[in-house]
């Protein structure tokens, strides 16, 4: 029976427990490889640094997803993420280069919905929220912690309280945004 490397196992365990320091260790371990890969594939040093951070964010978020079943070592997974993200970047750059002959007006009418989405309004609203609410929403929607962990971390009696609090916080965030902005401004066509 194949035994997993305890160091590798602990990486995932540490990510799942919310230990961000492990990301620094992973960054250092993959820095040289990422730089080499990016520079050898039409990139720059800054691209490599951004890419590695992005890959770590992906690992951080995915590691806590229930469906996330890692069949390889986290470091192998991270290498794969780095390479895939860089391929995407290159494809995007190539696409933009190929479309450069299109006039500015045409580009403006065909915006990339992902890149043009402005989250500044949400960021401001989050800053206006209380710390507890902000944490609950971040823990749930970004970190992907379950309600039990959120309840423990925030000192709630049980998961029901945490869930109710999360609901209130989301309503609060929505109210702050709606107070100043029209939601129709952010409507995206479902097609």
């Amino acid at each position: 029976m194949k035994q997993s490397n305890p160091k590798e196992t602990s990486i995932l365990g540490r990510i799942r427990s919310g230990d961000r320091e492990v990301l620094i260790e992973l960054y250092k371990a993959h820095e040289k490889m990422t730089i080499r890969h990016v520079i050898n594939n039409s990139g720059k040093l800054e691209d490599a640094q951004d890419l590695l951070q992005e890959a770590l964010v992906v690992l951080w978020q995915n590691a806590r997803k229930p469906e996330f079943d890692l069949t390889v070592k986290p470091t192998t997974y991270l290498n794969a993420v780095i390479k895939n993200l860089w391929l995407k970047q290159l494809s995007k750059r190539k696409y933009l280069k190929d479309e450069s002959h299109i006039s500015g007006k045409e580009v403006a009418f065909n915006p990339d919905p992902v890149t043009t989405m402005d989250y500044g309004l949400v960021h401001k609203a989050l800053d206006a929220l209380g710390d507890t609410c902000r944490n609950i929403l971040m823990m749930f929607y970004f970190d992907g912690f379950d309600m039990k962990t959120i309840a423990e971390a925030n000192g709630f009696a049980n998961t029901d309280v945490a869930k109710s609090k999360k609901h209130q916080c989301m309503k609060q965030l929505e109210a702050i945004i709606r107070k100043s902005y029209n939601p129709s401004d952010f409507y995206r066509d479902g097609n």
Binding site: G18, E21, H123, D127, M138, F142, D143, E174, R188
Partner: protein, 394 residues
């Protein structure tokens, strides 16, 4: 489908299976109002995730920058320490480097004493070359010199020759001449005497180091009106470094102000204006111990509670200069070990208080709420609520 359809909430709580979610979205698209609501909520969640990504990237960048600063700082501290050690060492060694070595001192002193003894018995005083030659010459030549000295007047004339003429250094010539012919009261004021005095140390060294020789130093010294002084043993004392070179400025927690919390009671209930609604317990932490490099210190829970949380406060600086905090929690058994990193809070004394389930940081003269969520980076939010402030700082 209505806008208050419970499936909307379930969808955003990730409570629907992938098939259910897919079906729900397909159905929702048919209802513009519902679809718009879903899009709006999705945009909010995307915004939350975007904020999280930014924070996490900032955390990585800041931590790496700190480590680089720290390693650069370590290099410069090491360089500075070496430079200081060299300067101090050189400063200590300088008087000895500037003087002839002990051996050369001894040989000079021996030579000087021999010259003095020689001068008592020999006239005229020969040059070094002459002395060297003499040592190689035969006894007859020495005798010739001695016989020449007996001629008295000639010898005296020879002594009064300009030093530059016979090659004898002026000071030596003066000294020897006066040793032989002048009254002590005359040459005591002379430059030669001053030089001789300044060489007392050599005579002192000589007095202890060449006792075994047959040279009558005392007689020589007496001849020039000098007194041989006892020599002090030379001792090498190690330079003791005080403290250690620290890689970062260390801050220690302030001693707990007894007036802030009740020191006698384990669980102190601060005075409250609202008697009908008792305020939560204030828990205070012990003063800091085990200060390590870069840490403010280790704050220990003073009042035992069910959780017995333990804290490590870490002072940190980042290039952004923006104050922020980072909390990390590790649970070992029933004990939670919190590490709270305070970025760019400046030089401060820090204490942590607990009111109910909330934790507060006293930094400087201000109180801030501490975000206890593990893995969270937080912005310091000053406590303005008067009732909380009253409990924290009654």
């Amino acid at each position: 489908m209505e806008i208050n359809d419970p499936r909307i909430e379930a969808y955003f709580n990730f409570e629907l299976s992938s098939e259910e979610a897919k079906a729900f979205l397909e159905e929702a698209k048919k209802f513009p109002e519902v679809w718009q609501e879903i899009q709006f909520k999705q945009w909010m969640i995307d915004g939350i995730q975007d904020e999280g990504k930014i924070e996490l990237k900032e955390f990585i960048s800041n931590r790496l920058a700190e480590e680089r600063e720290e390693s650069t700082g370590k290099f410069w501290y090491s360089a500075a320490a070496i430079a200081i050690a060299l300067v101090v060492g050189f400063g200590i060694a300088w008087p000895y480097l500037n003087k002839p070595s002990v051996l050369s001192e001894q040989s000079s002193a021996i030579e000087s004493a021999m010259d003095s003894s020689y001068a008592l018995d020999h006239t005229p005083y020969p040059t070094k070359n002459q002395r060297d030659k003499e040592s190689a010459d035969t006894m007859n030549e020495s005798m010739a010199v001695l016989s020449a000295s007996e001629e008295g007047e000639e010898a005296k004339n020879s002594m009064e020759l300009s030093p530059s003429e016979d090659g004898i250094p002026e000071d030596d010539a003066m000294m020897v001449a006066k040793t032989m012919h002048a009254e002590p009261s005359e040459y005591r004021k002379s430059e030669a005497d001053v030089d001789f005095k300044s060489n007392r140390g050599y005579s002192d060294v000589l007095s202890t180091n060449i006792h075994s020789t047959d040279l009558d130093l005392k007689a020589g010294a007496a001849a020039v009106g000098e007194e041989l002084l006892p020599i002090t043993e030379f001792q090498v004392k190690p330079i003791q470094a005080r403290g250690e070179i620290k890689t970062k400025e260390l801050i220690t927690a302030a001693t707990l102000k007894k007036s802030k919390t009740a020191p006698s009671s384990e669980n102190h209930t601060p005075p409250s204006t609202n008697k009908s609604k008792p305020l939560p317990t204030t828990t205070m932490f012990d003063t800091v111990t085990n200060v390590k490099s870069g840490e403010i210190g280790r704050a220990k829970l003073k009042s035992p509670t069910s959780s017995e949380d333990k804290f490590t406060l870490v002072l940190s600086r980042s290039s952004s200069g923006k104050p922020s905090g980072f909390t990390n929690k590790t649970a070992v058994g029933s004990v939670n070990y919190y590490t709270i990193v305070l970025n760019n809070f400046g030089d401060l004394n820090a204490l942590i208080y607990r009111l109910g389930n909330n934790y507060y940081l006293e930094a400087g003269t201000q109180f801030y709420q501490v975000n206890m969520q593990s893995g969270s980076t937080w912005q310091p939010k000053q406590v303005t609520d008067k009732s909380i402030l009253q409990q924290l700082n009654p």
